[in-house]
Structures are given as structure tokens and as C-alpha cells.
Symmetry: C2
DNA sequence: CATTAAATGCAACAATATATCATTTAAGAG
DNA sequence: CTCTTAAATGATATATTGTTGCATTTAATG
């Protein structure tokens, strides 16, 4: 495996297999996996970090050899988020491939302000506590956003 | 107290006193509380719900009788957030007055998709769990975003 | 192959946010 | 009180992010 030194740990560990299983999951649900959707998903996995919509547009446009317009990218990203194979980082206006494609999952994202990387973790206890708060207030939760920004371990060492 | 039926519960309960204590807190820290900063803070308290920056610009412009430009509004909102007397709702691109002005607080916001209202609660356990996760990963947290969107109790009854 | 709903292309535009530099304001020193 | 100086604001332009509306293409199904 040569020429991998510029790829992040996330990108290195994300093989074709992960994308294929994400694609398969969407297909199982009856969703159409078009070439654009697959291209966007590949770009997300390949980046291994949150990508802005316009950054994504440039990547996919270059990879496909033609100009993809912003609305197509936004629609595609919306679709991937609905399917749970991607997630939007609200505090960054950016999108990442999601490791937990089950629907309505509650992830915690840790976003590094230095390298721009995002780590996704699960914490059922956080989800439970939050849901308890909501229930106590009679609030019907449709979507959860739990994001931490700061400095990841590698970036702290570099300083 | 006449003519209050169009104000939200939040707005009703937010008197001058709250604003004054927020202003006093900022002053104690050595911050300059200018007329623009106070006007923006008043608008935030008065609204009792998250306001977008441009919505804020229109409100403050009308109240002051002259056009305030977007950059001034953004700078002012940034300042109020740094002081902890306001908070940004990332998933809404909006700002609310903050009931817990202590710095580096971890609030949970419950934002209603129907009425646009936002309720702010504290949950030290959520904060603790999140911090434990971060610590385990060697991640240095600088900022936390915990936001729920869904339907508040009153809006559920209306349906 | 025809039908049809979903997906995409495309152009314009709306909403959100920032950069830059000139000007004003206000706190503290003398 | 006036001067000095740093902070805050004004003003203009521009960058970035996201959406609307409608025409066209694509792909699943009969």
C-alpha cells in the first residue's frame, strides 16, 4: 500500500467495503443509489473529515469530469443524511460519512479546530439523559445535535 | 399589565432586571457595555426566542432609528456570546439570550420546529459524560453544542 | 417499449457571514 | 479638561452557504 502517508487515519481505515455496505443498506431500504449519490459518498469516505457542500461540489465535479451544481450536491447530502450514512456537523456547515447508519442514532462529534478532523462516538448514556430531560418537559425530540469543538490528541502534541 | 397576550411566556417573564444583571456582569469583567450592545441584548431578551442576525439587525435598526450594518450586529452578538449572556443556536443560525451567564457553561437547547421557541436547560450529568468521553480520547474541549429540535409541549397540543 | 415517479440539470437568487479600512467613541494619563 | 490610545462602530464590498422553480433526464415497473 504505497502513497498513503498523506491520508488521515480515518481515510486509511475506510476501504471500499464500508462504502459498499452503506450503499447496500440504502438499497435495502428501497432507495435509489445513483452514480451521483455514490460519488458523493465516496468523496465523503475518502476525505475522512467533514467537507463543506461547495468543497464537495468541487471534488465530485473534478472526479466526474463535469460541473455538478450546488443544488444537486445539497440534495444528495440531504439524502445521505436521511439515510443515516452521512451526518451534518451543524457547528461547521459540513458533512461527514457516518459510521452508524442505523436511523435516528445519537452521535457525539468531536471536531478538531486545528486539523479539521471529526471523530464520531456513541454514548447511549448521553442519549438517555437527554431524552429524559426532553420527556420531563414534554418535548418531542426529532433530531439531536451533540458536537464538541476543541483540539484532538495528535494536534495537542504538535503544539 | 395590559397588552401582554401576544408575548411569549419567556418574554413575559423577562423583565428589565434580568437585562440589568447581565449588563452588570459584563461590566464587572471590564467589558464596555455600549448602547449598541445593550440594544442588541434588549432585543434578544424581548424576543424570548432565537433571532437570526439579520432579523436582529432589522429590530435594532428600527428601535434606534438608523441602519445598523450586518458586521456590527455580528460583532455584537459574538461579544455577547463570549460574555456568556447570549448563545448561538448552531442548528438554526440564530441567537438567544442566555439565562446562565457563567462562562464555559454547558447548556442544552430544545428548539421547537413549530413555534421557533428555544428552551435552555442545564444538565451537569450530560456535561460530565461528554467531558469523560473527551478526556478518554485525549480531546481538549473548547466548546460544546447540545441542541435538540422537535416539538415543544404546547405546540404538540395544538396539533 | 411506454408510463411514471424520482432524480438531476440549470439558472437565478436568498440568506448568512466576513474582510477591510475609515471614523468615532470612551477610558485613562497627564 | 484635553490628549492619547485602544476599542468599538460605520460603511462598503464581497465571500460563503443554502434554496427555489422549472425543464430535462433517468430508471424502475408494467
Amino acid at each position: 500500500m504505497p502513497h498513503l502517508k498523506h491520508l488521515s487515519a480515518n481515510a486509511r481505515s475506510s476501504g471500499e467495503k464500508d462504502i459498499h455496505s452503506a450503499v447496500a443498506l440504502c438499497r435495502l431500504r428501497g432507495a435509489r443509489m445513483t452514480s451521483l449519490r455514490i460519488a458523493v459518498l465516496k468523496a465523503l469516505w475518502g476525505a475522512g473529515r467533514p467537507l463543506g457542500a461547495y468543497e464537495m461540489r468541487d471534488l465530485v465535479s473534478e472526479a466526474s469530469g463535469r460541473e455538478i451544481a450546488a443544488p444537486s450536491i445539497y440534495r444528495t447530502l440531504d439524502f445521505l443524511c436521511e439515510q443515516g450514512v452521512a451526518a451534518r456537523i451543524e457547528s461547521r456547515n459540513a458533512y461527514v460519512a457516518c459510521r452508524r447508519p442505523e436511523h435516528d442514532h445519537a452521535c457525539v462529534f468531536l471536531v478538531c479546530e486545528t486539523c479539521g478532523g471529526a471523530k464520531e462516538i456513541e454514548n447511549p448514556n448521553v442519549e438517555r439523559l437527554i431524552n429524559e430531560d426532553a420527556k420531563r418537559l414534554g418535548f418531542a425530540v426529532r433530531h439531536r445535535v451533540v458536537e464538541l469543538s476543541g483540539y484532538c490528541a495528535p494536534c495537542q502534541e504538535t503544539l
